[in-house]
């Protein structure tokens, strides 16, 4: 075992983690720990853009952006947080430009902007050009630019280190620590993939920036590595997860594969059509049609398929039509996604429409934080020194449905805030004792998994989990489907305890780490489903066919899910709720 000490430890090296590191490393001794090389992080897969009311090409202002974000999130957004994000968006884009990000430009040389779903002029009048972009590889450019700046600042990285535990001064898992009591972070426990060695990092501040958990689903735009590690670690240590039942299904995944085709395609004029060739979004969102928010478009697509207007031999997808766009325009604005269609489906988007179907894309929920990225351990108390930013966190700026481009914005605005807050806190905070046995639980966990002589394969359990989540907790949900999912997950968790991995070695044991990651996925899927069962309404990304309308009387509340460990040592999910912060906008019916 090796030990390290840093003022600030950042877990995760995607957009949020590296944006935090750029702030923190100039102020405090900082290490970034990532299970991947930083440039492999999934921020790089984001395509369409990052919204900010620069008003470079038409009238716009941050208040309209705030409103769109609140309405897009079906009013479950904390409005103070949305206002912070929309205001700071402008500087966030300018910061990136100054770091060298190669944005597309207007003829005058300004940062160009284009339309995106749910972003409108003057509270919904018409679509507005707000998304700043670099072709359809904006996330790639952000990830590269932030890494370049980390190289420039000589940020210290621990690459291919998996953080497997977070150490707190109190055990919160039984729910017995009184409200108001001061609880602090002491550090993290990590596993070095190359050597199999355990490293304990003592730190005054820890920032979680570990991204999402799309691998709870089978059909997903997410990377294989998006297994919700940070969320699950927090959950297991007694920290709640907020609004996890809200999962975004991106409308345009490549059919059967789930690979993302950016909303930018529709922003540039592409149209969704059913088997009758009808532009069906005209029926669902008469004003902004194909540029309605993702939850509405995904449901509309699923509904077209259910009602028999799907395409293909099994009528199980719809078509994204770009054929009326000029090939030169497609090449200039959408080069990557058209190449995906060619490579993976053999479809030529110049002349043929592309088969698409919704794909699990983004967790609106996550570790609850304040607007300064401090992690909450209940509705009011923060864990001192613990921060979270990006998809792992729930501020909540996305409410029950995130607008396109607001994730790249979120990681930049709240990553920056987290880095500053973590470094500031570390300036005056005391060191907390790292107990001698801090790594014991982690070591026992991985040794049990590795040394189990025989047992079921990790991959089999994972596949069954992903299948039941796709079938029972996707775009349409009912009490019956969710109950089925929950009983499946309970059975799979039991089987997981006796599972084993084939690779028994210490060197670069990815088999073992997939086993650990499956444990995270099982815990998170359970939280998603338990929250979804209890939320007997339909709002944003959560649609209950047995409760098809929004119910503000009962559910204008954030879900706070806790994993409580009782006598038998097994965790059960318990729910509480937290009020939504409403400042300017009273909830209205959501129409587009």
């Amino acid at each position: 075992m090796q030990t390290h000490q840093y003022d600030v430890v950042i877990v995760g090296a995607g957009g949020a983690g590296m944006r935090a590191a750029l702030e923190s490393s100039t102020r405090a001794r900082t290490a970034v720990i990532s299970k991947l090389y930083p440039t492999r992080s999934h921020t790089g897969a984001a395509q369409g853009g990052m919204c900010a009311a620069l008003a470079n090409v038409e009238e716009d202002n941050w208040e309209w952006h705030t409103f769109d974000t609140v309405k897009g999130g079906d009013y479950l957004v904390d409005q103070d947080a949305a206002e912070v994000m929309a205001k700071e968006a402008i500087d966030a884009v300018l910061d990136l430009e100054k770091m060298g990000l190669p944005f597309n430009r207007t003829p005058e040389g300004r940062i160009d902007q284009r339309r995106f779903g749910g972003h409108t002029r003057n509270h919904g009048e018409a679509a507005v050009r707000r998304s700043c972009y670099a072709a359809d590889r904006t996330g790639h450019m952000i990830l590269q630019t932030l890494y370049q700046q980390c190289v420039k600042q000589d940020v210290e990285f621990y690459n291919e280190f998996y953080v497997l535990d977070v150490v707190l001064t109190h055990d919160l898992s039984a729910g017995t620590v009184p409200d108001g009591e001061e609880v602090s972070v002491a550090g993290v426990v990590a596993y070095d993939l190359a050597s199999g060695e355990i490293h304990v990092f003592r730190a005054k501040s820890v920032v979680f920036a570990t991204g999402g958990a799309g691998k709870i689903y089978k059909t997903t735009s997410n990377a294989h590595t998006l297994t919700g590690d940070g969320m699950a670690l927090a959950l297991r240590r007694g920290i709640p997860l907020e609004d996890m039942e809200f999962f975004q299904f991106h409308p345009t995944g490549l059919a059967g594969l789930g690979i993302l085709l950016s909303e930018a395609a529709r922003g540039e004029g592409a149209i969704l059509r059913n088997s009758e060739g009808e532009r069906f979004m005209e029926r669902y969102a008469p004003t902004i049609k194909d540029l309605a928010p993702r939850d509405m478009v995904a449901r509309a697509m699923a509904n077209e398929v259910r009602e028999g207007r799907g395409c293909g031999p099994n009528k199980d997808y719809v078509l994204l039509d770009l054929t009326h766009l000029e090939p030169a325009h497609i090449d200039a604005k959408l080069p990557d996604i058209t190449e995906f269609a060619r490579t993976y489906l053999g479809v030529e988007p110049y002349t043929e429409p592309v088969p698409v179907y919704p794909t699990a894309h983004y967790a609106m929920g996550g570790i609850p934080t304040t607007i300064d990225a401090e992690v909450l351990r209940n509705n009011t108390d923060v864990v001192k020194g613990l921060f979270a930013a990006g998809e792992v966190a729930c501020v909540s700026v996305h409410g029950s449905n995130r607008l396109g481009t607001n994730s790249l914005l979120d990681i930049n605005v709240f990553g920056k805030r987290a880095g500053i807050a973590a470094a500031r806190y570390a300036e005056t905070a005391p060191w907390h004792e790292m107990p001698d046995d801090a790594s014991v639980a982690t070591v026992e966990y991985i040794e049990r998994l590795r040394d189990h002589a025989t047992g079921e394969r990790i991959a089999d359990i994972r596949r069954e989990l992903q299948e039941t989540m796709d079938r029972n907790a996707q775009v349409f949900r009912t009490r019956d489907s969710l109950t089925t999912a929950l009983s499946d997950i309970t059975a799979l968790k039991k089987r997981y305890r006796d599972a084993s991995v084939q690779d028994k070695g210490r060197r670069f044991n990815t088999d073992l780490m997939e086993g650990v990651e499956l444990g995270f996925l099982l815990d998170l899927a359970e939280v998603v489903v338990v929250g979804a069962l209890a939320r007997e309404e339909s709002r944003g990304g959560h649609f209950r066919e047995d409760f098809p309308t929004r119910d503000d009387e009962r559910f204008m509340l954030h879900t706070m899910a806790y994993q409580r460990v009782r006598g038998d040592g097994q965790g059960t999910v318990e729910l509480d709720y937290k009020p939504v912060i409403i400042t300017r906008y009273q909830p209205m019916e959501r129409k587009y």
Binding site: A45, R105, H224, G256, G312, Q502, T510
Partner: protein, 254 residues
Amino acid sequence: MTALAESTTSARAEVGAVPSFDVTLRIRRFDPDNGAEPRWEEFTVTAHGTDRVLDAMHKVKWEVDGSLTFRRSCAHGICGSDAMRINGRNRLACKALLKDLDPSKPITIEPIKGLPVIKDLVVDMEPFFASYREVMPFLITHGNAPSKERLQSPEDRARYDDTTKCILCAACTSSCPVFWTDGQYFGPAAIVNAHRFIFDSRDEGAVQRLEILNDKEGVWRCRTTFNCTEACPRGIEVTKAIQEVKRAMITRAF
């Protein structure tokens, strides 16, 4: 075969209309911890429709031998984790479709060359990233930053567009015969990333970068074999970029 895999198959078959087939992967295995010499191992799995090499490798890892070790993440050619030597050519396993590789013959899969092998298909990427870091791959400017964005015309932006696409997968560098024989050579990827800034109208660090690349291990080692351009999974004209850097070094025009 599970029900799930079958449903995936049908979903894909209707799109790509390519039937299932058996495919044999001939994979270079090596684990220094078990004392054995590097060896070839063959696995035959059933693949479907539009499956990629990565899908077949996952099938081996998840259903046959969990110890088969390789890096992967995004699985659609964006993250750069899974560059490997497939049938003698560097590619991303997630972008190489089995049906395009003549699956009637065994498909050979080896680690990329010129970097130390850690285990199976996993190589030590540190020397690669060290070269990248040496070319100062970040925007260098002097003077005060403007209050708003720096202006850049669409033409100036287009000048370096090709080299912004790099995902640092190392497919180019590890396909370069000069790099194979001389690990000190910066390699194509580092030069591509220098190019990305040298030709960015906002950047003021070109002279410094050209000085670095004028080194005996710099651009002059390039023998224009075009392996790098052929290997690049992002379609970057790597050799052309290297030539442009060479020309800039002589003409000082950029």
